[in-house]
């Protein structure tokens, strides 16, 4: 009788542990996504698998500053950086982009209820970014070049982000950024010619330079955006393997 009770208790304990494990690690359907294994201490914000391959930490290190180079595809690249973290509950803000396509952001996987938009910060750009850096997990800044943000302000914001563990993403040039991502060789797919078809996906390379990467930089091929709007890693059969992660 006592034996039965103990076995029963043990199995219940096992069930409870299993439940706890499931709570601790939300189920991921795609095993490929787990592969880059961002740090377990929560200091790295996850990014979509295709980009994670090229980032030195396998994700966005909290407290780092990332510059997204001005090139066709920059906004989609920004969405790709925000999407995975936002889907897992991080708060994001975009400052200085009145033309941001929120619909594309939602399709990329960003949770709109956790995305704050400051379309026109005016002369308060630095103050607004500083306020957001205090509370949000990812803050994207655009138009800082046009607004004439000084070097001292830039360094102050970067330091604040480092202290608060916020990822600061600059659209455009940001001297001193930890990482610089640029979208290269974008090719649209889906147009059949002669007016037929429609835009379905964009195949693009993402070149990463900066701290923790060999001076030449790294490049990965992704779909920005993919057929349903979400960024995807370019499929293996479509892309030659040597082109997929090519050291340049």
């Amino acid at each position: 009788m006592a034996e039965v009770t103990r076995a029963d208790a043990a199995s219940r304990l096992e069930v409870a542990r299993g439940l706890l494990r499931r709570v601790e690690r939300p189920a991921r359907l795609d095993p490929a996504r787990v592969a880059p294994s961002p740090g377990d201490d929560g200091r790295v914000l996850p990014v979509t698998a295709g980009l994670a391959r090229a980032l030195p930490a396998g994700g966005l290190r909290r407290g780092s500053t990332v510059a997204v180079g001005a090139a066709p595809g920059a906004t989609s690249l920004l969405f790709a950086l925000l999407a995975e973290a936002s889907a897992s509950g991080a708060w994001a803000g975009v400052v200085g982009r009145p033309d941001l396509g929120a619909l594309a952001a939602a399709e990329a996987g960003i949770r709109l209820d956790r995305l704050a938009l400051v379309p026109d910060p005016g002369r308060d750009l630095v103050a607004v970014v500083a306020a957001l850096v205090d509370g949000l997990d990812l803050v994207a800044v655009a138009g800082h070049e046009r607004a004439g943000v000084r070097t001292a302000d830039r360094q102050r914001l970067a330091a604040r982000a480092r202290q608060r563990g916020t990822v600061l993403i600059a659209l455009g040039s940001w001297p001193g950024a930890d990482l610089e991502l640029t979208c290269t060789r974008p090719v649209w797919e889906g147009l059949v010619g002669g007016g037929a078809g429609r835009l379905r996906a964009r195949r693009a390379g993402v070149r990463v330079r900066g701290r923790g990467i060999a001076p030449g930089g790294r490049e990965t091929r992704v779909l920005l955006p993919g057929p349903v709007g979400a960024p995807e890693s370019a499929t293996v059969d479509a892309i030659p393997v040597q082109e997929r992660v090519a050291a340049v």
Partner: protein
């Protein structure tokens, strides 16, 4: 009566109810005479209607057109909760002159403990008569009074204009329909009521005779409350604690505030503080006291009762309504001090911090940061996007100020009503609005690779045949949607918009379309031969200050024919163009030229 503690008897409550208050308030504000039938319409559906309109067959949930068809004389009025609350204030004041402890349940309904007035005016019926007379004499508003044990039964009694004997409340409730559980506008119990109905529990008595434990295990927490209501008990067991005084939060307003918007902004911060204090004690508030002191030293106090524990935004709403009422009433000057007192609290159950202290903390931190940004830029400076129905990328996004109600589905309906005043609801629009990408015909021929693109949504009707026949053919095929009943207009997901631009969507949507010049190989402008046919193949795109270059690919044009019922509306066409540097843009043809409306950045 299983599961109820003996001796757990709710207090006697007197409820004073003004029927169809939204209509009464709207008709008064608009100056519609009371004999003329009137209805308040939200999102093209009747939300409330006056008794005259009801006599003509107008019902809640009816479509506006149908209501007008049944009653051509119908005055159609808009909804405005703030106006409702403001106009109700005189009624509350009139009641308050005779009886203390008045609580506003919502505009149109007040509750007060019956014991005091019953003793003073010699019986409950006498008190009820006095109150009805008083309200009618002071404000000209008709109302009904009901007395019963507990608020829920008192409201039902007020709707019927009866006084239920002490102790007879369960018997009064037993024969009533379970639909009565779903009358509160803020709580949607339609699912529970439908389930009970399917289970054969058609009356409150039948539902109440279930065992409380069984109800809790099978139907969930809200059903437990409903079950208590059905048995004539207070919705929550009487373990409410009287909150200690330090839970109240206070705000000095310097300079004094005499404008509603400024007061509302201050109220937001105050409500946040109140909820922080309550959360610190693990409580949430079910009865909120709003007090204000005016420049002339007048003390104003009003108690709001709510069925659900108040959320911060619910608190802000009530404070704003109340201040709106006080300030527009005038006479007592600007407000110098505001005070929120949680009059009754229950243990907070809903919002808990995460098990590892992450979830709630991060949200709170983010909320504070965004409020700081709002303080810098004004409330409209920080926005959040809500997806709504529409066909163009710009149409499908609505920006709301951070902290305002995102209004998920309800907001969609409101938005649609707001975007197209006086127009039929989208589902009434013709299926021809389909302008979805179909294989363009401009290139001529239909080779093997020219299979028709799949439509943007599963709900898309088959594309109509091409050619000038289309217009007439469509007119004949106007779909008649099945008449929907009850409230699906507010609760169903937004309809799939046929003809919307399919994913992927452009990452940059210009706030205002920019003029663009599309040239063909000969250097002449590319025009439209038909709404879905380019005259010549485009070769070069020029936009001042925007993307320019050689066209390497294009798709479309896809005609957009929508809002044809609006005078001055023009049919447009959309064209996707890819340039040699990899930039793709979305062009729109309107008013005889091309416009750059979005960039696939």
């Amino acid at each position: 009566m299983s599961g109820a503690d003996p001796g757990e008897v709710p207090v006697r409550v007197l409820a004073l109810w003004s029927p169809d208050w939204p209509v009464t308030a709207a008709a008064r504000a608009e100056g519609v005479p009371s004999h003329r039938p009137a209805a308040v319409v939200v999102a093209n559906r009747v939300l409330a209607c006056s008794a005259t309109a009801r006599a003509h067959g107008v019902r809640r949930g009816l479509r506006r057109r149908e209501a007008q068809a049944r009653c051509p004389d119908l005055a159609v009025l808009g909804r405005d909760p703030e106006r409702d609350a403001r106009l109700f204030e005189p009624v509350v004041v009139a009641v308050e002159e005779l009886a203390p402890g008045v609580e506003v349940v919502r505009p149109g309904l007040v509750a007060l403990p019956a014991r005091g007035p019953a003793g003073f005016f010699g019986g409950e019926l006498g008190a009820a008569e006095r109150l009805v007379d008083q309200v009618a004499a002071r404000t000209g508003v008709e109302c009904q009074v009901g007395v019963a044990d507990g608020l829920f039964a008192a409201v039902l009694a007020a709707r019927r204009g009866v006084a239920v004997e002490a102790g007879a409340t369960p018997a009064f409730l037993a024969p009533m329909d379970v639909d009565e559980l779903d009358r509160e506008p803020e709580i949607d119990r339609s699912e529970l009521v439908g389930l009970l109905r399917r289970l054969g529990l058609r009356s409150l008595g039948a539902f109440g005779s279930l065992d409380a434990a069984d109800v809790a295990s099978r139907f969930g927490a809200d059903a437990v409350l409903a079950h208590r209501l059905a048995r004539g008990l207070d919705p929550r067991p009487p373990v409410r604690r009287c909150p200690p005084e330090e839970l109240a939060v206070e705000l000095e307003l310097d300079p004094p505030v005499d404008r509603v918007d400024a007061a509302a902004f201050a109220a937001r911060g105050l409500a946040e503080r109140l909820h922080q204090v309550l959360a610190g004690h693990g409580l949430s508030c079910t009865r909120l006291g709003v007090a204000a002191t005016t420049e002339q030293g007048e003390e104003l106090l009003r108690i709001w009762r709510c069925a659900e524990p108040l959320t911060p935004s619910g608190t802000v709403d009530r404070v704003r309504w109340q201040l709106d009422a006080w300030l527009t009433r005038g006479g007592s000057g600007a407000v110098v001090r505001m005070r929120l007192t949680p009059e009754e609290t229950v243990t907070a159950g809903a919002l808990q911090l995460g098990l590892w202290g992450e979830v709630g903390v991060a949200d709170e931190r983010a909320g504070r940061a965004l409020v700081r940004a709002q303080a810098l830029l004004g409330p409209g400076g920080v926005l959040t996007a809500v997806l709504t129905g529409g066909r163009d990328p710009a149409e499908r996004v609505r920006l709301v100020a951070w902290g305002d109600a995102r209004g998920t589905l309800d907001g969609v309906s409101d938005e649609r009503a707001g975007a197209m005043p006086g127009e039929p609801a989208p589902e009434e629009s013709r299926p021809s609005d389909d302008a979805g990408p179909r294989a363009g015909r401009a290139g001529g021929g239909s080779g093997p690779g020219r299979a028709r693109e799949p439509g943007p949504g599963a709900a898309q009707p088959p594309s109509p045949p091409a050619g000038p026949m289309r217009r007439n053919a469509r007119r004949g095929t106007r779909r008649t949607k099945p008449v929907r009943t009850a409230r699906p207009a507010l609760l169903s997901p937004p309809p799939a918009w046929p003809g919307r631009l399919p994913a992927p969507s452009p990452a940059s949507v210009l706030p205002e379309p920019q003029p663009a010049v599309l040239l063909d190989a000969a250097g002449g402008p590319v025009g439209l031969r038909a709404s879905d046919l380019l005259a010549t193949a485009p070769e070069r795109l020029d936009t001042p200050g925007g993307p320019s270059g050689t066209v390497v690919g294009w798709a479309g044009p896809w005609p957009v024919q929508q809002r044809w019922w609006v005078p001055g509306a023009v049919g447009t066409a959309r064209l996707q163009v890819v340039l040699d540097d990899g930039v793709a843009v979305l062009l729109t043809a309107a008013r005889g030229r091309w416009w750059l409306s979005a960039v696939y950045d």
